[in-house]
């Protein structure tokens, strides 16, 4: 059966319902909550603070450490055993790389900025939700940034290019599927996260990038709005 309609009734380039809030964790220097469909992420920033072990320190600038973690009860199937795994390590690493290009940590040599991403509920797109939340949390923490980072997954199911795949679309079995998590600097549309698994050709990949950019601009608007709400910007305009 050809893929003509999305299981949740969205149009092909439409995002799931998106909600964001900044400043949700009082202990953190900066924090944010982001929900896209049934995928929900918290991010909290601690630091710049002392970095140990000492050999990890960079005397030229502070370093960013991202920690991605799915909570034990967040998956749709069995309980996830806590304590990290290879997948979480890799996602933490690419999350770090997705965020670093906008950060200026030259004022904090030898220090570390930790961003902790926790997911209480997931339905695909969790690394992108985490990156989107983390960017807002970093901004909330007052870390010097030249832009936000906005992130979403795009992909193809058969001949259709979709924005923001849900789990049932990722797991589609009756034809070729590709899942492409993306992150970008909204001001320049430069891509800071690109992963792909599935089957796709170059033309469809480039088309997916265009669909992704449009979707990420929408995510960006929500991020900016949430930050403005926290800081009371634009209230009297």
């Amino acid at each position: 059966m050809p893929f003509k309609k999305r299981p949740d009734g969205r149009s092909f380039e439409e995002l799931r319902k998106v909600e964001a809030k900044v400043g949700v964790i009082k202990n953190a220097k900066g924090s944010a909550w982001f929900k896209i469909g049934d995928t929900e992420a918290y991010a909290a920033v601690y630091g710049p603070r002392n970095l140990f072990p000492k050999f990890m320190q960079n005397p030229k600038k502070g370093i960013l450490r991202a920690h991605y973690n799915m909570l034990p009860f967040s998956g749709s199937g069995d309980r996830i055993r806590p304590g990290g795994n290879r997948r979480a390590k890799e996602i933490s690493f690419v999350t770090q790389k997705a965020l670093e290009p906008v950060l200026d940590l030259t004022k904090f040599p030898n220090a570390v900025v930790d961003v902790f991403i926790e997911l209480p509920q997931t339905d695909a797109g969790s690394r992108c939700a985490g990156i989107t939340a983390a960017a807002m949390a970093l901004a909330d923490a007052g870390i010097v940034m030249k832009d936000l980072i906005s992130s979403v997954a795009v992909g193809r199911v058969e001949d259709k290019v979709l924005a923001d795949l849900c789990y049932d679309e990722e797991a589609y079995e009756d034809g070729p599927v590709a899942d492409i998590p993306l992150a970008m600097l909204p001001s320049t549309e430069e891509i800071t996260l690109l992963q792909m698994d599935g089957e796709i050709d170059k033309d469809m990949l480039l088309k997916s990038l265009e669909v992704g950019k449009k979707a990420m601009h929408e995510i960006h608007k929500v991020q900016v709005q949430a930050l403005k709400e926290k800081f009371g910007v634009g209230k009297n305009e």
Binding site: I25, K26, N27, A28, D38, E40, Y42, A43, A44, Y46, R49, H67, N69, L71, P72, F73, S74, G75, S76, G77, D78, R79, P82, G83, D114, F116, I117, E118, P120, Q121, T122, D123
Partner: protein, 258 residues
């Protein structure tokens, strides 16, 4: 903890107040929210002041332990997330997290709040496992009581998933069947600061305290688990007063569970 802050806490208590204006036996605002995450079979969030804890319950069909072949399995785990406080580090559970999980576990297990015999599907082969995960979102003191209250709320919220004839679970379909939960053991931790007893401490009050006693109770006459903590000993007289206060406050917390 500087001696000055501890002295200040005690001097203020002597005047009948606490640093944030509360009375010694007064909780901050307590809020319970049910069903906060949909992939868990049950969940709840408890907010006490600025302290926030989420508990998720997952159910699975597993083999029973050999010494209890006709009882379901119960497991409680706590993660003090580094996201929730600058004092928590990534890595395996700290002793602080383990203590919280074990004291919550004992409150439920020893009160027989869950009839684990009803979780048996086929003796010695298949039983339900109830896996409780406590996680901190923000630590502003009193994680013990928040964890315990959120756990009972999440257990009340739990619905069995649909199961096929050959015992395969369909996690996407929840039934209307609740856990065989017949009691609500509620923990209250009473903290001793100088000669004063307080409940629901802030982190400063926790650091300035001499000792604590957690009491899980079903009513003022039924205690089901206890744990003493802190660096200093307690007298029988103090323990009696702490238990009285704990069971009284447990009634207030239980009323939040409706």
């Amino acid at each position: 903890m500087s001696n000055d802050l501890r002295t200040h806490i005690i001097e203020t208590l002597e005047k009948g107040a606490r640093l944030d204006g509360r009375k010694a036996d007064e909780y901050r605002n307590v809020e319970v929210t049910y069903s906060v995450t949909k992939n868990a079979e049950g969940s709840a969030k408890v907010v006490i002041g600025d302290t926030e804890v989420i508990v998720g319950v997952k159910l699975a069909i597993e083999t029973p332990y050999p010494d209890t072949p006709d009882n379901g399995n119960l497991m409680v785990n706590a993660e003090l997330l580094p996201l929730s406080s600058p004092n928590f580090d990534p890595g395996p559970p700290s002793i602080q997290a383990i203590e919280i999980a074990r004291v919550v576990d004992r409150g439920i297990r020893e009160s027989k709040a869950i009839d684990t015999k009803k979780l048996c599907i086929k003796k010695a082969e298949k039983v339900w496992s109830v896996m409780i995960d406590i996680i901190s979102i923000n630590d502003d003191g009193n994680l013990f009581d928040a964890a315990s209250l959120a756990t009972i709320a999440a257990l009340k919220d739990t619905k069995f998933p649909k199961v096929s004839k050959d015992h395969e679970i369909d996690y996407k379909t929840k039934t209307k069947d609740s856990l065989p939960l017949s009691k609500e053991p509620i923990e209250v931790t009473v903290w001793k600061v100088g000669d004063h007893l307080i409940v629901d401490p802030t982190p400063d009050e926790e650091k300035g305290s001499d000792g604590r006693l957690t009491t899980a109770s079903l009513s003022d006459k039924e205690l089901c688990a206890m744990q003493k903590g802190g660096d200093f000993p307690l007298t029988s007289d103090e323990i009696g007063k702490m238990v009285d206060l704990a069971t009284k406050k447990a009634q207030d917390l239980r009323s939040k569970l409706s």
